[in-house]
Subunit: 221 residues, 4 copies
């Protein structure tokens, strides 16, 4: 491993290399088959080195999970600035597509949180002490929708948080199902652009719009 420094700069820091390696192994092998030996090999360092940077294997895995939320936030970061540009539909579709891609990437890693309660416990403890949480990823979406509401491009009485949850949740489930059934069997994704359909449906709503329909007056009493 001495020659490694001649090839790729060790400047990245062994710790970061370990986290990256762990993420790769977690993604390809799953938590159950992610061994310290393989993570170390992937990181290009010795197995013992892992314990200079992390208390134990679970702490390394937790560090991987901590990188997930920022990645999500990155996707929605520029969204509020988009308010008023293009169309709401285009902006939300782009968001949905990015989210779908991200979910496909991260569900395999994120799911491992539930494969070990101790891992989940530590992850929650860390969230708590950082005041972080998944809503961090929603905030920009909510902010964007509020901005569009101010611009009149989104119904003023719509609930931005619920809308974000509907869109992102649908994308997550799309990813979840694709991962579960395999890339061949796509129960919904055989549409030209599934995300576009989701966005269109969310924008239009399900309620029949005919104002002359008498049942409509009691729609929401």
């Amino acid at each position: 491993m001495t020659e490694r420094s001649l090839i790729s700069p060790p400047a990245a820091g062994t710790r970061a290399q370990l986290v990256d390696a762990a993420e790769r192994v977690l993604r390809s092998k799953g938590l159950a088959r992610a061994t310290t030996k393989e993570i170390a090999r992937e990181a290009g360092c010795a197995e013992g080195t892992l314990y200079l940077h992390f208390a134990d294997k679970l702490d390394l895995v937790r560090a991987v999970h901590e990188k997930l939320l920022p990645a999500f936030i990155e996707v929605v970061r520029h969204l509020p600035g988009r308010a008023g540009t293009r169309t709401v539909e285009a902006n939300l579709t782009e968001l949905g597509c990015s989210a779908l891609r991200l979910y496909l990437d991260m569900l395999p890693v994120g799911s491992s949180l539930f494969a070990d309660p101790e891992l989940l416990r530590r992850f929650r403890a860390r969230l708590a002490e950082q005041g972080a949480g998944p809503h961090r990823a929603w905030e920009p979406v909510v902010a964007y929708l509020r901005a569009e509401q101010a611009l009149g491009r989104v119904a003023a009485d719509a609930d931005p948080a619920a809308a974000a949850l509907l869109l992102l949740g649908a994308c997550e489930q799309l990813a979840f199902v694709e991962l579960m059934t395999g890339p061949e069997t796509l129960p919904f994704r055989d549409r030209p652009d599934p995300v576009a359909v989701l966005v269109a449906t969310l924008l239009a709503g399900l309620s029949p719009t005919d104002p002359s329909d008498p049942t409509e007056t009691e729609r929401r009493p």
Copy 2:
């Protein structure tokens, strides 16, 4: 084990007992800590007995996963018959609430699919040979929405599959996030009834109604 038959009926069948025991252990301990020893103890049989009924531990876990989809289907089974009764909102809210409860129960177990690629591989193979798939759970929802469309209680041009995905996906994400952040920190569920808000948002849609329409200003006072 002679007395066992005096206490609990062995009628359930050792195999079913093992699947049930595995589900309980999987839920409480996670895949990473679900040992054959504990599963056998929970099932009230010897460890070796497990291997009379399943090829290996992973096959038992797969059998647990196979029980999950039917449970989902059970929830939506009676939904199509509800078309035309009560209100669409009430029906969808009830569906969402049931789904949310189910997701909270099953995500910890279902997620373990991604903790081991071999487990996922076998699960997919099984789905393939059964012709099953997660769309089975959507079908009744889609059927319900179509029925409501026929009754004019849902917009004729709405996409039922997309709508189902939006609602169920949001519920899944609600569950996912609650499980991740812990029961105390609910980023969205501090609302009186989060599911109701989701349904309302989905029904109304995000698009602003024609501002020239005067009735619109009072739609939701």
Copy 3:
């Protein structure tokens, strides 16, 4: 297993079927992989049945070994009667070929005696109480050679037991080596008839004949 009696007669006796089955499994799988489950299946009976006829698995294996010596004796049984017929060389070559065939068959089974000291211990105890032993197989060979000595076709001062040991031992080693190196790599057996060469060498001896003896120069033209 009820129908089995309709197909093959159970008359053979379950016990004998078990011994035969054990021998087949021992030969194909080796002691290390000869499980009671497979032996029972091969014998066409239930696993538990084995214990009605044998104290334990090792006793069944011992019974297999007890069948081996008789098989050897069968080969040499008619040998003494051959004295004076054909040529000594022909008779010994036929013996050697039969022995070689037998060793190839039985070494894999016989060797397993040494894979478990307890098995060997029981086998010896059984030999002792029967007064049997491997010399039983030599006796007819020795008797034959003695008869040939009486006929003047074998040197009077040759040691029949040593001669038997030399011939049978060489055949055993031939078999041993062939089994070890595989059927392709035959270090000695590439000769047209290895056994014939062995017999010829044994008959002629290694000592140079007296060079002053003129008849000697033509011994083998």
Copy 4:
């Protein structure tokens, strides 16, 4: 294990210690009862250490078998140099005695090859890739006999390979039978020096030497 280095030198290398320990256990307990736990204890290391040096238990056993052939070769190594010294009889008797001792030692270990076909398969594969084989042990014997032939101390027309096989085979069978029947019951070895009798018989041959014997002229037409 810190103190171990104070007692016995670790210089031997853990791998070699494991092979030696495995050989001892194999010899005393047989393959069927040679557990990794006991081998590790015998080697003075942890059970897991075994798997740092060998793929699995069978690979360790194979390594033991690989030590056997060299040991044989060691015995015959100096034989060719003996040509012309002492008497052929003395040299062959010494060879036979060494071989007998070695066979008594190694048959229990070597036989285990046949107790597991997988073990045999791997052993053969290894032989093949090394170009080795049991003939390696015969070569020096054959070379010795050829040298003696050149010196006129062994019949020029004798087959050296057959002669080696006859002598070594007889010694092997002597060992085999002694191991089978136990140290008390020696069917042939009750002679003062069984190996000497074998050598004498091999040297003299079985053919009657009386040239005046008319039957003799047709011995090998």
